[in-house]
């Protein structure tokens, strides 16, 4: 590691001689948030492409989409929406607690968010199992008598909920890492940017489900 002697005298430097990028903590905080929101904007467009495809085909085949939607487990979809909203509350509470310096309460909230997130994925898995048992999994055992247009809807159901579930898995992994960092005492009332930024991601994934619920489960109801 190079000594800090190479840094210009006028600008403060970090330990390897690079000038510090931010004038103050507030500026750094804003840069953190803008970076995360830029990522979320890219996610809006990523899911947006799927939603666009969904709207085009639903416009083309309204009856088939309603028939497909009636084959989904309406109540599991509703319960899972409540489950995910609850996990968002736990995450938001964790953020509020660490801003007051409550590390233990943050850990409890993160643990609750993980448990509730796992409940969501377990319910989703049980839905996938139900679909498999009814011969409704495109590419695996889809019953051709149901028809290709309904199959299109069911395929979109699997792609959209599947991509959403992958986002949940990534979130759960990151949350485990945040819990390790918190155990090591890395967060306090002044230092909690990773919690806040991860919270943005988790709430955004929640938002995606908020739209998936009516578009997949409530067609023609």
């Amino acid at each position: 590691m190079k000594a800090a002697t190479a840094a210009p005298a006028a600008a403060p430097a970090d330990t390897i001689g690079l000038p510090i990028a931010y004038a103050d903590a507030r500026q750094r905080g804003r840069a953190n948030h803008l970076g995360m929101w830029t990522f979320i904007a890219s996610e809006v467009l990523f899911f947006g492409g799927l939603f666009l495809a969904y709207f085009i085909y639903r416009h083309a085949y309204p009856a088939a989409f309603a028939a497909g939607s009636h084959r989904l487990n309406f109540w599991k979809g509703a319960v899972n929406t409540a489950v995910l909203l609850t996990s968002s509350l736990a995450m938001a509470w964790g953020d509020a607690f660490i801003k007051a310096g409550r590390r233990g309460a943050l850990q409890a909230c993160l643990a609750a968010t993980v448990v509730i997130g796992v409940v969501f994925l377990a319910l989703k898995g049980s839905e996938y199992r139900e679909m498999y048992a009814q011969h409704l999994v495109p590419g695996l055992n889809f019953d051709a008598r149901v028809g290709p247009q309904v199959e299109l809807f069911i395929w979109m159901y699997f792609v959209m909920t599947g991509v959403h579930a992958v986002h949940m898995l990534v979130g759960l992994g990151l949350m485990g890492w945040l819990m390790v960092l918190n155990r090591r005492g890395r967060f306090n009332h002044a230092r909690h940017a990773p919690i806040e930024l991860f919270g943005l991601y988790w709430h955004f994934v929640d938002c995606i489900w908020v739209f998936l619920y009516p578009l997949l489960y409530l067609v023609g109801r």
Binding site: L34, H59, A96, V219
Partner: protein, 95 residues
């Protein structure tokens, strides 16, 4: 150190509103369907997303630039959907 209680209560109230909207959209789905079913369901979803963005994702913070960045993605999405709709929604679909 400030007490977290006011923030926790505010978040709990937002959660209550979200659950209320979920119950509303589920109840509407149990009614006989009509032309209004989808617009109402999507309107309720948009209201829920608005609450999540504004309170849980802290767009209520005094940072206008954050709101601009948050809206930028949806602005681009509106262009994507709007221009695509000019084609698909104005010609007959082969059945």
């Amino acid at each position: 150190m400030p007490s977290p209680a006011p923030a926790l209560l505010r978040l709990l109230a937002v959660y209550g509103a979200l659950m209320g909207l979920l119950m509303l959209t589920t109840a509407v789905a149990l009614l006989p369907p009509g032309w209004w079913s989808t617009p109402v369901a999507l309107g309720i979803a948009a209201a829920k997303a608005g609450l999540i963005f504004y309170f849980f994702m802290r767009l209520n913070a005094p940072e206008p630039l954050l709101r601009v960045f948050a809206l930028a993605g949806f602005f681009m999405l509106a262009i994507l959907m709007g221009l695509t709709a000019t084609d698909y929604f104005t010609r007959a679909w082969p059945r």
